[in-house]
């Protein structure tokens, strides 16, 4: 009998979402509806279970999700309290380069280039004399290029990380921090087969000078040249 099809239009689309999904939704809605402040505590698990008419198990699984999303933090006796969500903290946890496929790794690498070229305006907006001094300090400790063709990753991170600092954008900084293990992984594992072929046209020192005396536009071009090797590898 194919009679089922006859009722297709009349029947409501059954939601395939699990019970935990619904509870999660309810809880999020509850949180934002109550306009709870950071630090406020929410009803205890057993109460939530009674209110929503589900088992504590389901409540716990839903709360676990909220905790992963950084919306709440559970304390032993106090119960769960609202926290300021840390978007990138969550991602950092799941940013395990070994389990990412090669295409994704490449794309993440690309995003880094996009960010560092695009951040120029914010650098110039916030940079201070102290920042310049610190950058110069970092550059002065730069290991000689002749040492080994492959640049020193630690130093790279120090310099470029400082740039992210200067943007004064905490979210951006967290984003970079999240991406770091990927770069580390990409450089260490022989994923980048070829050594940089091209000469670095703009050195760190050059970039610092531009940041000190130049313009965002010049910095973008400088950074683009600085990253030329990476681009060349990506576009080959």
């Amino acid at each position: 009998m194919d009679s089922n099809l006859a009722f297709k239009g009349q029947l409501k689309t059954i939601d395939t979402t699990s019970l935990v999904d619904k509870v999660e939704e309810s809880l999020v809605e509850f949180l934002q509806h109550k306009k709870l402040q950071v630090g406020d505590s929410i009803p205890k698990e057993i109460d939530l279970a009674n209110i929503l008419g589900v088992s504590r198990t389901v409540i716990r699984e839903a709360l676990l999700r909220l905790r992963m999303m950084g919306l709440i933090d559970s304390k032993k006796k106090k119960g769960a309290v609202i926290t300021s969500p840390d978007l990138f903290g969550i991602m950092s946890k799941s940013m395990k380069p070994h389990i990412l496929d090669q295409d994704t790794l490449k794309e993440i690498f690309e995003i880094r280039l996009v960010l560092e070229i695009g951040m120029a305006d914010f650098l110039f907006q916030h940079v201070t004399k102290e920042d310049i001094e610190e950058l110069k300090e970092i550059v002065s400790k730069e290991p000689p290029v002749t040492d080994h063709h492959l640049f020193n990753i630690g130093h790279e991170i120090a310099f470029h990380g400082k740039l992210y600092d200067i943007t004064r954008n905490e979210t951006l900084k967290k984003f970079q921090k999240m991406l770091l293990p990927v770069f580390d992984y990409v450089h260490n594992s022989g994923l980048l087969k070829k050594q940089p072929l091209l000469k670095t046209f703009a050195s760190h020192k050059t970039l610092v000078n531009i940041l000190k005396n130049g313009t965002p536009e010049k910095f973008r071009n400088g950074m683009r040249k600085h990253l030329e090797n990476h681009f060349a590898r990506l576009f080959e």
Copy 2:
């Protein structure tokens, strides 16, 4: 197994991780050590519980985390199977603008500007004639500026979204998709009090022309001018 208990009193301060934390770690390690392919299934919950010597409850909570991280997907009878992790899936879920504080919203807005200025090289690397045509098509449907000072958000998203498409960077696209609700929220809620004061120096049409005949450098400058209004608001 439980020889640790002898040191219980001394180690207490250091070991702040919960049982679920450890199990989660073990499972992730297990997955990457076994080099499991996408689609492979992992041992069932009860087996994992026996192997690791913990209750099924703990196993389930740990598996729930892996599921949130996009590492596995649970099927009713088949068990849990490896999936390709979706980094931004999790973040998208927790990207609820209403619960983000104002500073974070501003920072996310800034990141958008960074991305769109910095993506120029990848646009030129991948853009096709068809892309140009599509962009022109979008621009042609642009509502007149005189209609209302506040630009049409839907159209903005269509144009700028297409640019993200052209980069052919799926991760970047997902990132943008994740940020969309924030822009929507920022624009709709009176968070941006002032209307754009400055004339848009570079129109969408101008950007398309640069993309067709210009260079990445010119495009970056054009985009910078195009976003001038946003920058002005951020820097005021």
